[in-house]
């Protein structure tokens, strides 16, 4: 590729660098309420370091201390980078941008290419805002290719989108609502996107969190506190109830618990053999169930924690396949018992693998780095609740019908069916095929 040659000419070091990193963007959410304008600016630490030299010890890494102690400079830079203009007059800062702690504490947010400083600003305008313009100047002197991705709304209305280049002068933001005056054709530096565009955008994963924040009416910081904890509990319940593999695993282990093994002579031949008979001792059956449930809980809690704290992180193909295999084995164990009485041991071993499965669901639910303990506890609690629901539902039914011919039939047939389904899962998970759902 000739482009590469350019670097080689020692006379002038000019290189074709194909577009590569994500370019520099800042994410701005701006809301207008009466005469008040408030904004959250997410600015990349990478960009801030270039302008403010945050890396005090020059080790090419930013510690939280290096960022936190320079927060007043960061806030001042943000403050100078965005000026709202209401009906022709610049609004005045409502809080001094260089007073750390005056409003929101210094905080960071993760975006697709790294961490961003989250700065909150607010302004006071002369009167209720009718027409709004934004004078965006962030990094105008150091990176003209920087863009401000601005989402804005009046009150709690739907967010609209504008992409602002720095230093292009005031750009009209088309505020909806009765007080706003509609104007045609934005300047070419602003790509004002109509409602449809903004909706399409809202459907993209990048803005999923924004949507979530809108739903709660907060400004995207519902990542801690009781609401978030409850969310993780619900997530845990949801996961076990829709996770057929976990349910079938538990079911396979619970089905024989209302029976016991009895060694007896076959009436015809007189040879001794062992077979399932309905349990007579309710307390002993319950103890068996408790052992199984406890073993499962302990085992999956261990690996869930190990995985969430990144101690071990096995490939999901392996995890998912082994979970399927565990269902096959547990179901076949009912028909041809290898481990009849001490099923809790089997449960414990395979419960370890199920824990890795739960972990990937929890990671999908979106963990913010930092506080891992409360999501983990919440999610695990949810899993246990879901699991107890299943036990509470299945056990009384099984107990009351344990002596019937139907139950015996359902036990053998059901176990074989479960083993069959799980065997299909095993094949498709191990070889990345899609044969059946699940």
């Amino acid at each position: 590729m000739i482009r590469r040659l350019l670097a080689a000419l020692a006379l002038a070091v000019i290189a074709g660098s194909a577009a590569a990193h994500k370019a520099s963007d800042a994410y701005v959410t701006l809301r207008v309420a009466g005469a008040e304008v408030s904004a959250r600016l997410d600015i990349a630490l990478r960009d801030l370091d270039r302008d403010l030299d945050l890396d005090a010890d020059a080790d090419d890494r930013l510690s939280w201390r290096e960022v936190r102690t320079r927060w007043s400079d960061i806030a001042a830079l943000a403050r100078a980078g965005l000026v709202p203009i209401a009906d022709g007059a610049a609004c005045t800062p409502a809080t001094p941008g260089n007073a750390p702690g005056a409003e929101a504490p210094p905080a960071l947010a993760m975006h697709s290419d790294g961490r961003y400083a989250v700065v909150r600003l607010s302004w006071h305008c002369a009167a209720a805002v009718r027409q709004l313009e934004a004078d965006y100047r962030l990094f105008a002197r150091t990176d003209p290719t920087h863009r401000g991705i601005v989402r804005y709304a009046r009150d709690d209305g739907p967010l609209q989108l504008a992409v602002l280049g720095p230093g292009a002068g005031p750009v009209r933001l088309h505020l909806p609502g009765p007080p706003a005056v509609a104007t045609p054709a934005a300047p070419d530096t602003a790509i004002a996107v109509a409602a449809a565009g903004a909706q399409a955008l809202a459907a993209s994963p990048a803005f999923a969190t924004v949507r979530a924040a809108q739903a709660t009416g907060a400004d995207a910081d519902a990542s801690s506190g009781p609401a978030a904890f409850g969310g993780f509990v619900r997530e845990g319940i949801h996961h076990i109830l829709i996770g057929y593999d976990h349910i079938l695993f538990l079911l396979s282990l619970l089905l024989p618990s209302v029976w016991q093994r009895r060694r007896e002579a076959a009436p015809a031949t007189g040879r001794m053999h062992t077979r399932w008979v309905p349990a007579t001792d309710g307390r002993r059956a319950l103890a068996g169930v408790l052992k199984v449930v406890t073993a499962f809980t302990l085992a999956h809690s261990i690996t869930l924690a190990l995985s969430v704290f990144d101690v071990v992180d096995p490939p999901s193909r392996w995890v998912e396949s082994t979970i399927a295999a565990s269902v096959v084995l547990a179901a076949l164990n009912n028909v041809w018992p290898l481990i009849a009485e001490a099923r809790w041991k089997l449960t414990f071993v395979f419960g370890l693998v199920h824990g890795f499965g739960f972990a990937s669901a929890l990671k999908d639910a979106g963990l913010a780095q930092g506080d891992l303990v409360s999501p983990l506890l919440g999610f695990n609690l949810g899993v246990e609740i879901g699991q107890l629901c299943i036990v509470g539902l299945v056990l009384p039914l099984a107990w009351s019908s344990r002596a019937t011919r139907t139950y015996r039939g359902a036990f053998a047939g059901g176990s074989l069916a479960i083993a069959g389904v799980a065997a299909l899962w095993l094949v498709q998970r191990a070889f990345d095929l899609s044969l059946i759902a699940g």
Binding site: L9, A20, P314
Partner: protein, 438 residues
């Protein structure tokens, strides 16, 4: 029973110790909710690394700062600004960071918007436009430069070479070859051996793209083995890279060691990704992950990481899904700012990671309208095949037929292909799912 228990114990052990700690702080899903780091010494961002040991890195950083300070004091000093621009381009190439293109524009701001800037600035502007895939704008400046009667020989040589690079990307191979032939002529003899070697390599590359690949391969090997009289030492990385890419197009396994040699002397993002593509095709995803670890900030690197994770861990693995999602967010962000230069890579993302051949085909077609590099051809042919619309790639076959180009990656099964006669067999055969280069 005992054997089963042993087996189970073995499984449990494998579960717990079988995988090394993942340990990367980024293994959690992106969450735009702000968070406050728990500890002051927590590393919240890794900045683009400087080269060398700790002291050298510190010195490099200090030099950058000093340069910026000097420029701030004397923004109109052309020599100073040009040096800063060259340094920024060099960093941008090494790290694959488009921010540096913004730095170039910023330091050259006093001249950037002029109709007739100084030739060095104009050359730099063309290079930035080329890197941003603004090929028409780049050609305007380059043609204007080359039309100047009096132009420093070095600037003229670089302009010729840059123009040849742009013409090659656009698929104007004859135009590109004419430029390299001029560069190899007597007019540039004063520039010495280095410039001549560039011209010869350029001619060889273009010959290889027009079906004369045996001769081209020999010519590049001669250049690599005959030491330069100007620059002592081993064959430079760019030359080994050219040889590697040619071997790859020919389906020659020698490509692997050549890529490794290129990377050794020039560990930039482009070389890294090119080698990763070759390894992915060779079914060696584990090596890809080792090769790319720590460079995920660059979008093309993240794409290869996700492809390798998919191949190594499975499509459902949390890591595969996380990186696929991150990549999607970065493409969304690029789209927001109106950057459509990622078509080739985005097409591969849609095809191999999201499994949407129709979207992949749209992107590859749009990309092919602009660029005609070998990887662009591969992208369109693969997407068309996967979408079941072989005819959509007819333009590629026509182009290859006209230029005489050939590429083993376009042949079924990856075996070396003869001259292109797009028979129905070649077109109908599927490609391996994992990691064809783009």
């Amino acid at each position: 029973m005992a054997r089963a228990a042993t087996l189970l114990r073995g499984l449990a052990l494998a579960t717990l110790v079988g995988w090394p700690a993942a340990g990367s702080p980024s293994s959690f899903a992106v969450d735009a909710g702000p968070a406050i780091p728990a500890r002051d010494d927590e590393i919240v961002e890794r900045l683009p690394a400087h080269v060398g040991d700790a002291a050298q890195r510190r010195a490099a950083r200090a030099a950058e700062r000093a340069q910026r300070a000097r420029l701030q004091a004397h923004p109109d000093e052309l020599g100073l600004a040009l040096q800063a621009a060259r340094d920024a381009l060099g960093r941008g190439r090494r790290r694959g960071d488009p921010r540096e293109l913004g730095t170039v524009e910023a330091v050259l701001a006093p001249w950037w918007k002029q109709a007739q800037p100084p030739p060095e600035v104009r050359l730099m502007r063309a290079t930035v436009h080329q890197s941003q895939h603004e090929f028409a704008a780049a050609l305007v400046d380059l043609d204007a430069l080359l039309a100047l009667p009096a132009l420093a020989l070095q600037v003229r040589a670089q302009a010729e070479l840059t123009r040849a690079g742009v013409q090659q990307v656009l698929g104007h191979l004859a135009e590109a070859e004419a430029g390299c032939r001029r560069l190899a002529g007597t007019a540039f003899i004063a520039l010495g051996d280095g410039a001549r070697r560039n011209a010869l390599a350029c001619l060889a590359e273009l010959a290889s793209l027009q079906g004369r690949d045996t001769a081209a391969s020999a010519a590049l090997a001669r250049l690599a083995n005959a030491p330069s009289t100007d620059v002592p030492g081993d064959a430079p990385g760019w030359l080994q890279l050219m040889r590697a890419e040619l071997a790859q197009r020919r389906g020659d396994p020698a490509a692997g060691p050549l890529f490794a040699a290129a990377l050794q002397s020039d560990p930039d993002v482009y070389t890294r990704c090119a080698y990763a593509d070759w390894l992915l095709d060779a079914g060696r995803p584990g090596e890809v992950l080792a090769l790319l670890a720590g460079h995920e900030a660059a979008d093309p690197v993240l794409l290869r990481v996700a492809l390798a994770e998919r191949a190594a861990f499975g499509a459902r693995d949390a890591r595969t899904r996380r990186d696929t999602r991150l990549l999607g967010e970065r493409f969304d962000a690029a789209l927001l700012r109106g950057d459509r230069s990622h078509g080739r890579e985005q097409s591969r993302y849609e095809l191999d990671l999201r499994g949407d051949p129709a979207a992949a085909l749209r992107l590859a077609q749009a990309n092919w309208r602009v660029q005609h590099e070998p990887a662009d051809a591969v992208a369109l042919v693969r997407a068309a095949r996967a979408a079941g619309r072989d005819a959509a790639a007819d333009e590629v076959w026509r182009f290859l037929h006209e230029t005489g180009g050939r590429d083993a990656r376009l042949a079924a099964g990856g075996a070396a292909a003869g001259p292109f006669l797009p028979g129905p067999t070649a077109a109908r055969d599927g490609l391996p799912m994992n990691g064809s280069p783009s």
